[in-house]
């Protein structure tokens, strides 16, 4: 028996290569600001560590105060971010494909500051803290980069919330 001599096998191999999920994941990761700077060979490793998760419309990816240890990148669909108060909730943001969120939980065991809800059927790339930690042990510079993005994100959110409170104070 011999290898790759027949056209069929060659074709099959080509097909394997072109359809690889990992490559799709790499393409998505490259679109994400936090991961865009990671060299392509390392990105391939990271891409194997993400799994795909699907969320039905109106279900929650996580709720405020949950201890959910995942980071999410949207592949398909829309996710809405809510902050709940005792008597009301605010929608803070609407996230679309290639948005990365929930990344703080990749660094520490924290309670969620907000809820994330699937506004449509949503498909995400998901990674958990333990896995991400193993990855950063091998590639520490990626952690720094992701952390930077996360801090910017938190600051922006805080800014928005502070603005809202001021508005409330003025009119109440």
């Amino acid at each position: 028996m011999s290898f790759t001599r027949d056209i069929q096998s060659e074709k099959l191999l080509e097909e394997f290569k072109s359809q690889c999920h990992i490559d799709q994941n790499v393409r998505i990761l490259r679109e994400v600001e936090a991961f865009a700077v990671v060299p392509i060979n390392k990105l391939r490793v990271l891409a194997t560590l993400f799994s795909r998760k699907k969320f039905v419309r109106n279900s929650f990816l996580f709720r405020q105060h949950d201890r959910d240890p995942h980071g999410y990148i949207i592949i398909e669909g829309i996710v809405q971010i809510y902050r709940h108060y005792t008597d009301k909730s605010y929608m803070l943001q609407e996230l679309t494909p290639h948005d990365f969120f929930g990344g703080l939980a990749l660094f520490a065991d924290i309670k969620r500051l907000f809820s994330a809800k699937a506004a449509t059927d949503v498909t995400c790339l998901v990674i958990d803290r333990e896995t991400f930690h193993r990855f950063t042990l091998n590639f520490p510079e990626v952690a720094t980069r992701v952390l930077e993005t996360m801090i910017k994100r938190v600051v922006a959110l805080e800014d928005k919330l502070l603005d809202m409170q001021i508005v409330e104070c003025r009119y109440e």
């Binding site: 099959l12 690889c20 390392k42 391939r44 039905v56 091998n138």
Partner: protein, 842 residues
Amino acid sequence: MMAHKGSRQEKRITERSLTSWIFKKYLGLQLLLACLIIVTIFFRVLPLEMQKRIINIAIGMKSLNRLFLYCGLYLVSFLMAGILKYCINVLQNYIGQKILYHLRTELYDHILQLPLNFFRKTPPGMVISSLTSELTVVGEFLGSAISTPLVNFLTLFTFAGYMIYLNPLLAIASFSVYPLEILIIPLFQKKYNRLNKIRIDTTRTLSNRIGEAISGIHEIHGNASFRIEVDRFDGVAKKLFKIRCKMNSTKYLIKFTNNFFQNMGPFVLFIFGGYLAIKGRLDLGALVAFLSAFEKLYDPWKELMEYYQIYQDAKVRYARVMSYFDQKPPFKLAPLDRELLDLSGAITVDNVAFYVDGHPILDQVSVSVGPGDQLALVGFSGSGKSTLVMILGQLYEYHQGHVKFDEIELKSLTKLDIGRNVGYIAQFPFIFEGTIRDNLLYACNAININLNPEEAQSYMPSEHEILETIENVGLGPDILSFGLYSRLDLCQERELMEQVLELRCAFLRKHRETLSRFIEYFEENEFLDYCSMATNLVFGFPVSGKPTEEAIAEKPELVKILKKLGLLMPMVVLGRHIVAETIELMKQVESDEFFLKSSPLFDKELPYYEELLKKYSGIGTIKQKDLWSFVILAFRYNPHKHPMVVLPSTFKEYVVRSRREFRKFIESHWPDEFQFIHPSKYLSYCTIFRNIIFGTVKSEYSGAEEAIKGAVIELIKKEGAEESLISKGLEFHVGTKGDRLSGGQKQKVAIARTLLKEPRILIMDEATASLDNASQLKIQQLLTQKFKGKRTVLSVVHRLETVKDYDQILVMKAGKIVERGSFDELMKKKGIFYELYQGHTV
């Protein structure tokens, strides 16, 4: 009420002497042993006489007949001596081990009954080494305790007698060395014994160190304190090393002395006997017999010396071990002169005090509880609440004052009286290895094992009672879940299997469409993305319970059918592609095996496949064996688990189309090894849950599992299959220390375990602390609604919102009761309880 089996011995095991064990049991066997020994002696002496006769009579008289006769007798006698020696050894070993077995079990029984504070100070390592290795020598000694001295003294005296019979003068001269030896050796032995005592203590320290390090392994890893621990260990190990060296040196010194004196004998013989022979006062045959006899003296003498050493060693070890455990159990196990009591539940505590190292933990505490009353104990940590309830559960012995159950002093009640009437639930209960059912029945069995079989039967809870109790403590859903995720034993559980198949029909009828998003059903004409390639090809599972890919990897004959179906080359290409991708990935992460989870390759196979890939990097012929290695990987490939490779849809279609042929091949070659998927067949390989949903949960859907499980449980309840599935769940194995259960589940099991024995008095020491609010509320309702007025409840309470329902509340502080009364009284009083309660609810 009931009679109990067995009675206690008068003398405590730790007070008995080592020698008392020798005559305790198997006197008949010991007697048989002695008889065998006496017969052996005869066969031991006979060859000597034959030796003499062969030389003096047969050779001297040149008689061939006599030569044959004596040689024959010589042969028979040493053969007999050998066989008898074998029998003696076997018998001796049997007796020794049997006595050791009794000694061990009785000592273990005694140790378990020692008070709790003994175990606080005693590391488990020491108990283990005492009961195992230290006692081994004792057993060895006990077996030979009678036979060895008997056989050797007898042999010694017989040979000595024979020698005296041959030549008294010569005999006495050659014996003259022994008295000296008897004086010297005990001196060395004394030193050896002293060292041996130190050795036992050092070994004990060493095992304690190991035990401590292993129980604290989290802390050691957390602090990376390996060096500290190794150094600590090293100190003791070094000491042990020195003592061992000294001990062995002493032992060899004893050996040397022994040998020296032993060789002195022949020396005397040669000089004196030689002289007599030359002078013609001793014939040559007698001298040869004499020399042989003297040589034969050596063996029994040596054995006696060894026996002496073993005896000394065993004595020292026995005394040491017994001294460790020489305490009186604080309470009697079972009453001797009456039956077990049925208590009413009334408790009076009168001026009770309890000390630890002179400090009062409880100080003049007095409480009175009527039958069926419910009492809550509240207070700061360290205030003595737990100690008080542990005293009431006979876990501690009070030092002053009186505790009375129905006017009977607690100290005079036996352990079994308490076991029957009092249920104690700890904050962190212990769950034993075994099934949930074993654990639930543990407390009941503990009582029943002491009863006659007929009485025991009536105290065993019925299946209905078990189910009711499980429901009461909120364990129902957990156990149902265990049942759902277990596999059926088809030979024994046919009825449940039928039930599951009915559930499958009902489930598919109702949910096939609605849940299709979350479930990949087993469809014969679809490729299964959540199953391995092997399962996809076979469209079934091995009967053996192994994963399909493993089972068919052992069948290289499958190459034929793969080839015939045109699947062989694609499978090889798939396998090789998997290897290439995995190796590419692993290069990036320096072979951290964690990253292998997205690949079907195992860590230890990497080097092999890396070689293989190198070998077949270009075009060339491939060997059958290597080809199969690639196919094995392709079998393992599971599209969902291994996203590093995506199968083209044409490949999937091809696999689906090949199923029928593949199945035919398997059926003809291994007719009984596989079970094929069919909507009306139960799949023994899969869990009950998977059998009901007849497919695989699409785990990529968040919440899919919960949604399906919810639907399944609803169906189970509707179809009335709940009871049989809970029964199945009761057979779930909880693992060592119950570590397959969550903290809350363990606690619920412990509560159910105690409730099942229906104790008149229920003691709960923060027993609901690790439960969620809902479960806690459920148990609280059980106490206050169902048990009110029926069972006396004493509860150490940590969550004050439950405290309202109790008849009486005691507030404790620093070992004293500082407030008492009903909830309303205490709130009105605005004292310590009021403040605690306010602080708690804010």
